[in-house]
Amino acid sequence: MSDISLRDVRKVYSGAEAPTIPGLSLEIVSGELCVLVGPSGCGKSTLLRMVAGLEEVSDGEIAIAGRRVNDLEPAERDISMVFQNYALYPHMTVFNNMAYGLKNRGMPKDEIRRRVDEAAVMLGLDGFLARRPRELSGGQRQRVAMGRAIVREPAAFLFDEPLSNLDAKLRVKTRVEIRDLQQRLRTTSIYVTHDQQEAMTLADKLVVMNAGQIEQIGTPIEVYERPASLFVAGFIGSPPMNLLPPSAVPSLAPASAPEHALIGIRPESMVPADDGPIALDVRVVERLGATSTIHGRLPGLESDVIASVPSTVPADPGRTMRFSSPGDGVHLFDGRTGRRLG
């Protein structure tokens, strides 16, 4: 059992007027990969660093595996962390980079050797143990950083945007590797990212954060299918959800919808239909191969409405296209509170 629980955790930096995290609770079940996602400055990294013990907790309680860790040093918390810039020790070999934490714990030499060798094989680093970090590629350095986390066999892995220094192709590959590794080891993990695609693909539990607070917790599919707020609706999903006033699409708005409501329709839920209620003046068509993204205008609206359709659907700028949306594709939000209605 190595669940992580945060109770009413607060963070106020000295000198700051408003708290970075005004009070937040979160339960992470043992073996789960929990992704914290949000725009930069939303407090997700601060939260992770508080769990790691690199930031002090202003108030509240953090417990790892049932043990209160607020006042423990990072090394005593039984966690390991993967940093954005890898943070490998440049003057040590790959082997020593992975072994350093174990040596500091006074582990016997042959046990260290066994664990490092095992992790190296798992990560495909077995030929590189004698090299220095500067002799490795970005992806290999990332794997060394992972190896350093694994050999400790900790209660939890903490990932702080570990993929943001990799190029796009490698990022997808490494993402899969991290997922695979975490599923094999079943180690409780917290993963911080600002990339919603990374968040969706990796998470068992997705936590969307904004301004130091949790907007929504759920599985990626729950969050995608039933966004709890306008913020989540706009943040998760790419291209983002279209948000329209009911007056623009009266036939799609439920009769009960209040005047200040907003209707949300994902671009993927926009289905071309000859008699559909949404008539778009097509401005730009982006062809992505399998799908095309159509940017168009509704009469009387300032911003574009986006539709994602199969590339077989004929679409040209200047034409008017009609779309409908199936009932479960229409989301209703309160425009004043930003919360979901119904």
Binding site: P74, L88, H91, Y100, N104, R148
Partner: protein, 281 residues
Amino acid sequence: MVERRPLLTFTQHAVLIVGAAIFVFPIYLAFVASTHTGTEVNRGLPLLPGDQMQENYAIVLGEGLSTAGAPPIGLMLMNSTIMALAITLGKLAISLLSSFAIVYFKFPFRVLAFWTIFITLMLPVEVRILPTYEVVAQLGMLNSYAGLSIPLIASATATFLFRQFFMTVPDELTEAARIDGAGPMKFFRDILVPLSRTNIAALFVILFIYGWNQYLWPLLVTTDESYYTVVMGIQRLANSGDQLPQWNLIMATAILALLPPVIVIIVMQRLFVRGLVEVEK
């Protein structure tokens, strides 16, 4: 310069050769003087080496110049080496530790402490030499290696350079070390000092020469011949009272005094350059 312009190449080389010649000439003269007899040198300096080299160097190394009241040069060379090494190692140790404290620890008056150290950059040895002498004398450290080296050990320059370097070490490295269970001193020993290797090598060269070239301070604190250093010893040799200075022997001493810093530069430069080539980050 990828351009092929013969005249430019010629000018460049001419300037370099002339510059090098101007620089080397006095040293050459000193060497030439050290290979003749005293009378030959006093008659007018010859331009080619003579045949007295072995004899002259044997005298300065073995017997010393009793007439000038100086011990054999071997002892002075050893004194100089001890002083220069003590100053260098002391400065490196103290400045590494103090910049570690200034950069990585929060304590009251930290900024004040840094600026106090920094301001002492403006106070060279000569400015504070009388009060320092008084303190050293009161502590009974005159005529001792401690008296020669300890007052010169505090170093604002090295502290400042290490501080600048430590500030470029990424915070994530510090945090990774904390998670790896390295306490502050372990972090210092296992990570900061190895990373500072090239800086240490460069400073070693500079500080060794600084220590070796100390002149005024050893002159003040030593009255016992057995603690004379070679740089001040040369001066003693030249002040030979009524007699003519024995320039051949003085120059032999000068050449010998030149060797240790040169050796340090040659040896450390290899390390220094290798450190520069293997950029680590």
